[in-house]
Symmetry: C2
Subunit: 417 residues, 2 copies
Amino acid sequence: MSSIPHRSIDIDANRLWDSLMQMAEVGPSPNGGSRRLAMTPEDADGRRLLLDWVEALGCTWQRDKAGNLFIRRAGREDHLPPVSMGSHLDTQPLGGRFDGVLGVLAGLEVLRSLHDNAITTRRPLSLIVWTNEEGSRFAPAMGGSGVWTGRLDEATFFGASDSKGVTLGEAIAACGEAGDLALGEPELDAYFELHIEQGPVLEEQGHPLGIVTGVQGIRWYDLSLRGQSAHAGPTPMSYRRDPLLAATAMIQRMREVVMADPDGAARLTVGDFQVVEPSRNVVPGEVRLLLDLRHVSDERLDALDAELERLARDAADAEGVELTFERRWHSPVTPFDDALIDSLREAVKARELDAPCMMSGAGHDAVHLSHVTPTVMIFVPCRDGISHNEAEYAEPEHCALGTQLLCDAVLARAERD
Amino acid sequence: MSSIPHRSIDIDANRLWDSLMQMAEVGPSPNGGSRRLAMTPEDADGRRLLLDWVEALGCTWQRDKAGNLFIRRAGREDHLPPVSMGSHLDTQPLGGRFDGVLGVLAGLEVLRSLHDNAITTRRPLSLIVWTNEEGSRFAPAMGGSGVWTGRLDEATFFGASDSKGVTLGEAIAACGEAGDLALGEPELDAYFELHIEQGPVLEEQGHPLGIVTGVQGIRWYDLSLRGQSAHAGPTPMSYRRDPLLAATAMIQRMREVVMADPDGAARLTVGDFQVVEPSRNVVPGEVRLLLDLRHVSDERLDALDAELERLARDAADAEGVELTFERRWHSPVTPFDDALIDSLREAVKARELDAPCMMSGAGHDAVHLSHVTPTVMIFVPCRDGISHNEAEYAEPEHCALGTQLLCDAVLARAERD
């Protein structure tokens, strides 16, 4: 159990909002969002603005060769590992003002509030800006935190190239964003990340905050079903081997399984359904599906995985079509740190706030961090669950509450015995 | 009731097969099929070969401005309207040796057999080669018979352009295939068309022939279902408005309706199922479907049409997505001529053959002809139901039986009082 901080301080909601709006003007997009693709001049400008702000607070900073930026506020016992906060400043091509940015500028607001109150925490603090979280210009996403934690190999990270053939390594150098800090340094005491939910649950349920206890497991599948292409007219239904009908049958049955999940936590997405050589009056010869299956429990995911394959084989057999069932990728359920979750619960209670525990459906830098340091996340609602979109919006009040919760929990963590 | 011909003659199966194989060498395709796209030099060469053969029999010929070719064999009462046979010589880009060609060369074999037996029929005979039946180079298909019967307007027919911008009118002129005969001339006494089935039923049921009593009704639909695109991860199933799940539910329910058809004659084809802006881990925002619905009864088609729309609306409502339901095109059930059907039945009986009555699923020039003259078709099986493919194949025995039936019925029709 963490202890309640001896003293709690209040963050400045207006200053936080002003910073968010100022940052949004760095690389503004046509319809009120931001465009700061990873390691472009706009991304570097955003980092520079942040550094101007933190330098004014007397913070120091370092970068590693991946361009990850570590801002440091000294502690009373400055040799101890820092308590860290962080997220990312890069955006989608037509991105919003909050995804990633909120977590970084909430950390800035924590540093500013401590500065205003002349508080030096027992442990030092670190505010981290991870490189290329979005993955839009360079795949994969969450690259900076991945390579820093050793969960993504350096060749993949630095060698990733954009649509013009520029590698991420080249882009980091061109932006002057490479530094001397070793990957994996400094050792962290804990990692806190505040983020917009990017889903509809908090808004729909009327909660201003959520304590994120972990990240769902994800499994990706490529399916191909191959039957016999035939003329629509002369071929009676009973003579057909129609892979499209097999695919729709499989999807409907799997949907029933997912909807009947005891936890209500199973998620099935058919992101693509492609007819090979489509023609209105020809029975398709082949269809290809891309599926995404998620759950908060690996055991349930195992069961859903087996059920998906069984239903796919049954549907293919019933229709007399051939099935190729490929498991493309998976990410196991990632639990966050119990002590940090408890510290957030206590801070919520102390402030008399309303913040249910929930699992994240999306990936975040925090997933990588959780493998090397105690980690937790805080969610705030975003309007209509929309993100990766210029229309992305979070209420000023929610941004402020999330930042206050971050501040309280970080202070408690930094001060603990 | 037609009368049995006073004398019946036997066609020459080997000569028929030799002619089919010779014609296939005009515009040969790489894997044993034919490539005679409409109004190309290969198409003109095929027509020229046919004309060489019929001129040797003393037949005359004329063309109309659409390039439809009318070969004429004089009758004893030569002022009477001719009894006609016909089909087409143009093929798909990688077409087979039988689709269309069989009907034309069977007509040739009838003319040759009459010539061998020194028979002059009471009525004159006509062998017709229709322009651009396939529709591969110039849309729509069945163009020559369409414009000749007045069911396709001349502007659409002559103005249709190929992928290089050449119009069908220009191509007809370039091939020297335009003639002086007026569209709609000559008046016909009857029209017989022998064709491969292009479906699996005769082969699967072991029949060497089929008497075609009409053509199925066809209805085409364009459906769009629009929900809310969302991240696969953070969006619980209950918050989604997933148009793909609505579409698959609708298809499965409609499939059940079609499979339960009392006549076993309903046919549902979803020829395309397109996710707009597909991405594996994004709930689709929109899916678009192209559907083809067929039945041998217009009343049943009306009922199926209403059921399709109801199921689509129900599925859309259940998922909270918007539906656009467009009826794009329809072709009513086309019944063929009862007297001609009877004449075929009698000829089948006289020869002790096995030829069930059946409806055609595909469109043919005979559909247009049926609106202006008594019309009927004969089907022969094709291997595995495959056509529009170089592998298309019909057994020599079946080609010969179909041609014999054509000969018997045409002779009876031409001789009748």
